[in-house]
Symmetry: C2
Subunit: 191 residues, 2 copies
DNA sequence: TTCCTTCCTTACTTGTAGGTAAGTATACGC
DNA sequence: GCGTATACTTACCTACAAGTAAGGAAGGAA
């Protein structure tokens, strides 16, 4: 057993590529060459590309769970949660992951298996559940001010961030901070 | 000269495919087969795929200009403009064009020429200019209520719609109406 | 020592992608 | 009727994609 297994390296590399180019935008070669392994080594760990994609979605989902579990369990102030989401998004873009998993899959949606669609769907569901709780908490504790159902507002913010990420990619990075600022303004956050 | 030229048919078919699957998600075959022509016929009109993409972006831009020119020239009430954007978005999704051009290009961004990036950028710029004017007009005429710079608000709404479109694709269509409703609420629109 | 499992490589196959060169049918000006 | 564009088709090429079958090294269990 190495310090970092080949399997982990494959996932890391594929994850990066997936969030840069989408599923159809990279090949096994793009993974194997930089890792100095052969294509067949990838097929050993992930018999086909959909198995690899499954692992990537699971990885993504796992990261979400880890970073939100504490708040989901014990609650606390909402503002840092929202700011955490903003920071995470900025960070991802700066680390060469300009598009998010959901955005990447939207384009390649036609050739996804039902199992993968379901996994992706449950990722969205979990994100939404988390942000809804954040919004609810923020409203109760007078941190945020907004009209309309909490869940609907959360959905709107998720959509905004996702769209912002795309626009940042094809336009300019500054857009992200600008849009985050507007979300804050819309929530009546002044500081 | 036919009623609908082959060139137009190619553009129409490619446009549809582009907004369904992204640039890397369709091939010349996907265009030529349903039109009962040969791949080489496409290459005759568009020597390579980038030339085709250029035409698609131009087409998209042209559609925007046509549908917004009247308001840009003479002004008028802002609310129907915003609703027009919502309707257009819903309509596109229902017509099998779930992702927008900007979203489709975001994924394939790595292999775009500078000329195409620029064309896409100017499309975003024009969209933004239009929506900014709508927001400005709406605020002046007391149709919309919001805090923050007009342009920043417009940018936020564009991002939201774009993200909503993606989420609708991978989750469910209802999301669109829900998010549009939230945008209205955030703008203080009650009716 | 032998056998079995794990993790990979070598050496392929098949399919399809974008792209090209040369030929052909049709219409139009002259 | 005679060239000459225009708008294609036929027939091809090269590159590369995903995927597979068979073999080999290395380690642990018997």
């Amino acid at each position: 057993m190495q310090v970092v297994t080949t399997r982990e390296q494959i996932i890391n590399q594929a994850f990066q590529l997936m969030l840069q180019r989408g599923l159809n935008g990279f090949s096994y070669r793009d993974i194997s060459e930089p890792l100095r392994i052969k294509n067949a080594a990838i097929h050993y760990h992930f018999p086909n590309k959909m198995d690899l994609l499954s692992a990537l979605i699971a990885e993504n989902h796992q990261l979400l769970r880890e970073s939100t579990s504490e708040f989901m369990a014990y609650g606390g102030p909402a503002r840092p949660q929202l700011e955490g989401l903003f920071d995470y998004t900025l960070n991802q873009c700066e680390c060469g992951r300009p598009i998010c998993m959901v955005g990447a899959l939207a384009v390649d949606y036609k050739d996804l298996s039902d199992k993968i669609k379901q996994a992706n769907d449950s990722f969205i569901h979990d994100s939404l559940t988390w942000l809804t709780k954040v919004m609810e908490t923020g409203r109760e504790q007078d941190e945020f001010h907004f009209e309309g159902p909490t869940k609907r507002k959360a959905m709107g913010i998720l959509a905004t961030i996702q769209g912002a990420r795309q626009m940042a990619r094809v336009h300019s990075m500054d857009i992200l901070n600008s849009i985050f600022a507007q979300i804050r303004t819309d929530l009546g956050i002044t500081s």
